[in-house]
Symmetry: C2
Subunit: 341 residues, 2 copies
Amino acid sequence: MRKLYKIGIDAMGGDHAPAEIVKGAYMAVEHYPDIEVTLFGQEEAIRKHLPVSHDRIQIIHCDDVIPMDVKDPAMAIRRQKASSLVVASRAVKQGDIEALVSAGATGALIAAGTLLVKRLKSVDRPALAPLLPTVKKDKHTILCDAGATSESKAHFIYQNAKLADIYAKTVLGMNKPKIGLLNIGTEDAKGGIDQQEAFLLLKNDHSLNFLGNIESKSMISGTVDIIATDGYAGNIALKAVEGTAKDIFSLLKEEIMSTTQGKIGGLLLKSTFAHIKETINPKTVGGAILLGIQAPIIKSPGSSDAETVMHAIHHAKKAIENDVINKIDAALSTSKDDSLT
Amino acid sequence: MRKLYKIGIDAMGGDHAPAEIVKGAYMAVEHYPDIEVTLFGQEEAIRKHLPVSHDRIQIIHCDDVIPMDVKDPAMAIRRQKASSLVVASRAVKQGDIEALVSAGATGALIAAGTLLVKRLKSVDRPALAPLLPTVKKDKHTILCDAGATSESKAHFIYQNAKLADIYAKTVLGMNKPKIGLLNIGTEDAKGGIDQQEAFLLLKNDHSLNFLGNIESKSMISGTVDIIATDGYAGNIALKAVEGTAKDIFSLLKEEIMSTTQGKIGGLLLKSTFAHIKETINPKTVGGAILLGIQAPIIKSPGSSDAETVMHAIHHAKKAIENDVINKIDAALSTSKDDSLT
């Protein structure tokens, strides 16, 4: 029998930290008997939100916190050595914990992963891979990269597809995940030189189930399992989807509340609206994994409540359990050798 | 008193061509006494849809048509010399007509503009500048470039902002249009090298009202008048907005129709839904202008009905009337000289 899965959590990161983070950690150990959680942060504040002490929860006190609106994440990681995120990242690097979960600033978590936990030698750039909700029931699409790397090069895009493919197969148990290349048209030779080169790299890799180009209008249509892209375009597409959904629901609410007939109609459709919001809400999915780093790092949304944190912890557990890091390293080392021949 | 504004229309381009295109042209001459329309296309088909002959509508017969789903637009423009789009473009180039409107394939229109009507020497790359609907009443945002050019360079992004700025001031009558640079975060130094360089070019040009970076989550929020970006990211962002809105409304319809309570609620909110769809519907705005070309070229949506075509024709008229081409050329020639010093 395997020992416990050791998962570290930045208790100070998130809009509702430390309260919801600590509650989520408690829910997770109660729910999953095979995990052990280490909370990094201000001990007094953490203890206040822990209902009772638990033999599978330990606390490592950290004096400092990297704020949600940190302006220069890389600088913060270098300077704020006593911050919960830096101390937790060092603990992952040293192997004291096996995976890291944070609902703190995305930029800071990516910087901590890259600078402290470090990149796998086989991977050129890290990639953030959120599971996007889609309009198809229980169907999610992996977007890779959603913004960890802003440089756009054909080989990075190709590696993002490989990273997501291995993650989908090992952690999510998908069989032959369908891969689309995000582009400005569906024809083969679309886009700039990087998209055209990435298309050929993907097409010639017969280990991948590559379907061709996909347009951003299909972001939440659920037509593919993986949308491979550079971090710049991925981030633009992701935030456009989020912003549009948010703006439409705000406008809907405003218009409904402006007339009596609207209010009655809105009341009758209350559960419908809630269900649609739930369908396209990424919260329940368990956060985004940062791929290409030497340990699983899970970014839980900034707005995470306890339940979301619990799902992110479960996500981290599945990543350790399925040995995604070694499988990525093995596959990407091979593909790196191939590209040199 | 000025002579008539001479506007050419590709009568064969569009999902509902030639019927709706011809009707739209007729509506336009009836509505605006100072325009004269030339319809390019198959004469017999055009005459069938023209209620009566009109002294300000002429027809130039063309044997061939470039289809909506043309795979290689540049090749089609070179080879299909008798097509309505090619003949119309040559007529613009020769000065027989002053502006061109088409609801045909976007790629073909961009290729026709670039290869036949030709770029202004002062402009490095053409840019497509649609007016995006926003959730703010009667407020639109210009996206420039929405996908005419797929290369991303700092100077192209900067020129896209300049092009949109002059267009906004001269054709749309905006005063000091607020410009945002599409980026993956709102802080100054965000994005890759091209975004960072474009940021500095925009910041140092004091003729522009540059507000800084804007994220794609604000695409339809109406916070700026102009979103400047490269054509690749612009196209990705635009289609993500369109696809998300479409997917949400489809899901909404499906869920509403699945229960009796939903159907009643849906009936009560029918006008609300229609109004929201109308609010975020780009159709009424008059199409997208292709900037950087030697004459005004207006892309009307592929799905254009007669009214949409009429709006696009009016848009073309305003572009001629306000001399946007010469104003662009003057401003961009100056900025080109500046950048050499």
